[in-house]
């Protein structure tokens, strides 16, 4: 270990212990040897399941100290062997930010989150307040000091998590996909905070290791890029790798920084008269208005509507991209399609059924709904049972259930997990099980809530190609998405929501040149410089 080497892994390998008795260990890392110098900014990229998070956990000492599994090789951080030094002691040199904001903010106020690591280090209480102010200022959260963390947006929560990781002035900051769980607004906030931190780090000689799917900021930030694939280091080098080894990133499904998201152009349509196209409508929203009630309040009429007089029809066989900023009403609208919500006024008709007259269970035979978080869905002991649950609940015969399950598993390559508990699978595979579970219900309408969030491009493409195949076979698809590339590639129609209103709706125009201003021109919120800093939240609600 040379003098300026701060982190050194030598043939680092890790296998996660089986989650259930008799299960198989899950490979995390194969053999990773890497050295990181003091003051370096290192970006770690790779497809879903490549081992990025595992590497981050190994650098913090969580592997092998807290996680269950078997480690081979060694990790030395700031001269300490992580196999013999505990996580708490390592934390005197390392700050760590996880993917999931909600499980790393456990205090009842922002200031308490920052105070926690200071108290653990025995800091003089008289000095804590100024330190709390200092780190909150660094991430632009000084005005939120007394707020309850759960009242913050995802991006704000991650900024607090970064501040908490920096509070004790570590030498090393490990960021494990800090934007993976966030929407575009949240990602932008976190990247802005990290940019401020990056500019500040020269003064503090901070070493940063950042695993991330979104590579767009690495060219200006990173001194070195580590490319992981199947638990091994596939390549490393400076940011010129992105251009020199483009084929590698394409093969791995990692978006490179110069990938530009397309602008969407839609043929503005009079949503109230869609029948002019002659298409048979499968979904009709007729002056739909919806307001959320708040805890204990009955004055719902005084609250701004989450859906405000939305009228449109969706033709059978359409593939509709439902886009808009956070809080614009996308999820609220989607939840009206299977009666999870019913309108305060107006009417929703899906596949000939008025949703106010049918239960969610009855609508389930007509509308399949894939939620974004697969963990809200998965509960069965085996993948086969999980995928068969929906068809069985709909009263299909055992033979029909078996046929549907086999087909869905084949579509997503899940046969090898048929008898494995789906809860023990990696994130990408859990998403596949969740999607397969709904597709097996074989409904004429399919609603997908952010189906590609957190997935690499290869997995996203595989998922959406499968959905597109069903769409070509006649299934109507409504896809909530911030991924404009996916919307452009797969959708026939686009609905853009804004403040609860249907701002734009029509066919996606694939023929018109970009300069044609006769057509709507819309982009995702991340490109909108005038976009307000929405506090994302309750977006189950919106």
């Amino acid at each position: 270990m040379s003098l300026d080497t701060l982190i050194e892994t030598h043939e680092l390998g890790w296998r996660y212990a089986p989650v259930v008795d008799g299960g198989r260990p899950i490979d995390g890392l194969g053999s990773v040897t890497v050295t990181i110098r003091s003051g370096e900014f290192v970006g770690v990229v790779g497809p879903t399941g490549a081992g990025k998070s595992t590497l981050c956990m190994a650098l913090t000492g969580i592997i092998p100290n807290l996680a269950d599994g078997e480690m081979t090789g060694s990790v030395r951080v700031a001269g300490m062997d992580t196999a013999t030094v505990g996580v708490a002691e390592l934390s005197s040199r390392i700050g760590y930010v996880q993917q999931d904001p909600e499980s790393q903010l456990f205090c009842s106020s922002v200031e308490d989150e920052i105070a926690f690591p200071l108290e653990n280090r025995g800091m003089d209480p008289a000095l804590m307040d100024s330190r709390i102010d200092e780190v909150l200022r660094l991430v632009g959260m000084e005005d939120y000091r007394t707020r309850i963390p759960t009242s913050l947006s995802g991006g704000q929560m991650q900024r607090v998590a970064i501040a908490a990781a920096l509070a004790a002035d570590p030498d090393i900051l490990i960021l494990d996909e800090p934007t993976a769980a966030l929407d575009p607004d949240g990602r932008r906030e976190v990247f802005a905070a990290l940019d401020a931190l990056r500019r500040n780090r020269a003064r503090h000689d901070l070493t940063v290791v950042m695993a991330e799917q979104d590579t767009s900021h690495f060219p200006g930030w990173a001194d070195r890029i580590l490319v992981l694939d199947h638990g091994n280091l596939a390549e490393q080098g400076d940011v010129s790798l992105f251009s020199e080894r483009r084929e590698l990133f394409d093969r791995l499904g990692v978006a490179v920084p110069d990938d530009v998201e397309p602008d969407l152009r839609i043929i503005a349509d009079d949503a109230s008269t869609p029948s002019r196209s002659g298409d048979e409508p499968i979904i009709t929203l007729d002056h739909v208005t919806y307001r959320y009630a708040s805890g204990g309040r009955t004055d719902t009429a005084q609250r701004p509507p989450a859906l405000d007089d939305v009228t449109c029809t969706i033709p059978r066989g359409a593939f509709v991209g439902l886009i808009g900023r956070n809080g614009s009403g996308k999820t609220t609208l989607a939840r009206h399609l299977n009666a999870l919500l019913t309108p305060v006024s107006g009417r929703v008709t899906v596949d000939g059924l008025d949703t106010r007259r049918h239960t969610v269970g009855q609508m389930a035979t007509h509308v399949g709904f894939v939620f974004q978080n697969p963990d809200h869905q998965i509960f069965c002991a085996t993948t086969r049972e999980e995928i068969g649950f929906g068809p069985k609940a709909l009263g299909r015969t055992p033979q029909q259930v078996e046929t549907a399950v086999d087909k869905a598993m084949r579509l997503f390559g899940l046969e090898r997990f048929a008898d494995v508990s789906p809860a023990t699978l990696g994130y990408g595979d859990r998403r596949a099980v969740a999607l397969a579970s709904v597709l097996a219900m074989d409904t004429p309408v399919l609603v997908l809530d952010e189906p590609t969030a957190g997935l690499d491009r290869n997995l996203s493409t595989r998922f959406l190609d499968t959905v597109a195949e069903l769409n070509r076979a006649g299934t109507t698809v409504i896809m909530i998405s911030h991924d404009m590339a996916a919307v452009t590639r797969y959708c026939t129609h686009v609905m853009r929501m804004d403040d609860g209103r249907l701002a734009e709706y029509g066919r996606l125009d694939r023929t018109v040149a970009p300069s044609d201003h006769d057509h709507a021109h819309i982009q995702d919120s991340r490109h909108d410089p005038t976009h307000e800093n929405h506090t994302k939240g309750n977006d189950d609600g919106r």
């Binding site: 690591p117 990781a165 709909l394 189950d540």
Partner: protein, 282 residues
């Protein structure tokens, strides 16, 4: 328009903690005194089975919360949360306790008497009385002061942190439960115990079916809770929890003010006075 909303991923919403931020007199009171107040109310409500006494305790608890300016919404939330339990107890009590000399109505083994109806009412009132006794402290004590108070009374720090963190995540898990319920219902799960295509049941099998229908939701919530608790544990250790050779300090300090001593004295005197009065009344 900026909306104040909270979330991380879609499908996963979070909401306020049990603690209600504020600066009322109960908020300012030393947590140790509030523990004593809550404990005194809990013990008294558990000892005496008298409807007038329970009503008085409930009234006192509401007055304490109202004068601390705890929003009426939060108080209503407690009633809503406990409503099902209260109803169950009031309905089931006469079934399982057929005692009493003043019979009003009888059908087989089911016997309604003046005594068991009064006791059903007392038990129905006892649930919110006990609940509000706890919420007096939980609504008005921030997490660090709660932990600090427990540690000051001799509880190990880790135990206090675990307890306070568990309370902090109750609303989070409640909302996860709602999200998971929505996801499972969308797959045809009917939480009334019927399948999506209907089907008749007798009352007993309907009850069993209804209970079984919640299993998918409970299992999924537990899986999510396990993953989240693992992340919380890792976050705590990676921020130095249990750092060897370090004496932990606390940003929040506790100090018994004259007002705290007064509240403690009133609590003790009140408890003794109530006990004496109840003993005299018999």
């Amino acid at each position: 328009m900026i909306r104040r909303m909270r979330t991380t991923r879609k499908g996963m919403t979070m909401d306020a903690d049990l603690y209600v931020p504020g600066d009322g007199w109960l908020h300012r009171a030393d947590p140790r005194v509030k523990f004593a107040l809550s404990l005194a109310l809990l013990v008294m409500c558990l000892i005496w089975r008298n409807w007038a006494f329970m009503l008085s305790m409930l009234a006192l608890e509401h007055i304490l919360l109202a004068t601390d300016r705890v929003p009426a919404e939060r108080i209503a939330w407690v009633w809503r949360t406990l409503a099902m339990l209260i109803t169950l107890i009031v309905v089931l009590w006469p079934i399982f306790d057929p005692s009493g000399g003043h019979e009003i109505w009888r059908w087989g083994i089911l016997r309604l008497t003046r005594e068991n109806l009064v006791m059903a009412a007392v038990m129905g009132l006892r649930i919110p009385a006990l609940g509000f006794a706890c919420f007096l402290t939980l609504f008005t004590t921030s997490q660090p002061r709660l932990i600090r108070g427990l540690v000051a009374l001799g509880m190990p720090y880790r135990a206090g942190l675990t307890l306070a963190t568990s309370l902090r995540y109750i609303p989070v898990f409640f909302r996860i439960f709602q999200s998971v319920s929505a996801a499972q219902r969308a797959r045809g799960l009917d939480l009334n115990g019927r399948s999506a295509v209907g089907g008749a049941h007798n009352p007993f099998s309907a009850l069993v079916a209804r209970f079984k229908s919640y299993l998918p939701v409970i299992v999924a919530v537990l899986i999510r809770a396990y993953r989240m608790s693992q992340g919380v544990g890792w976050a705590m250790e990676s921020r130095g929890l249990g750092m060897p050779g370090v004496a932990r300090t606390y940003r929040v300090s506790l100090r018994m003010r004259p007002a705290d001593w007064l509240l403690l004295a009133l609590t003790v005197a009140g408890a003794i006075g109530v006990a004496a009065a109840m003993i005299m009344i018999g």
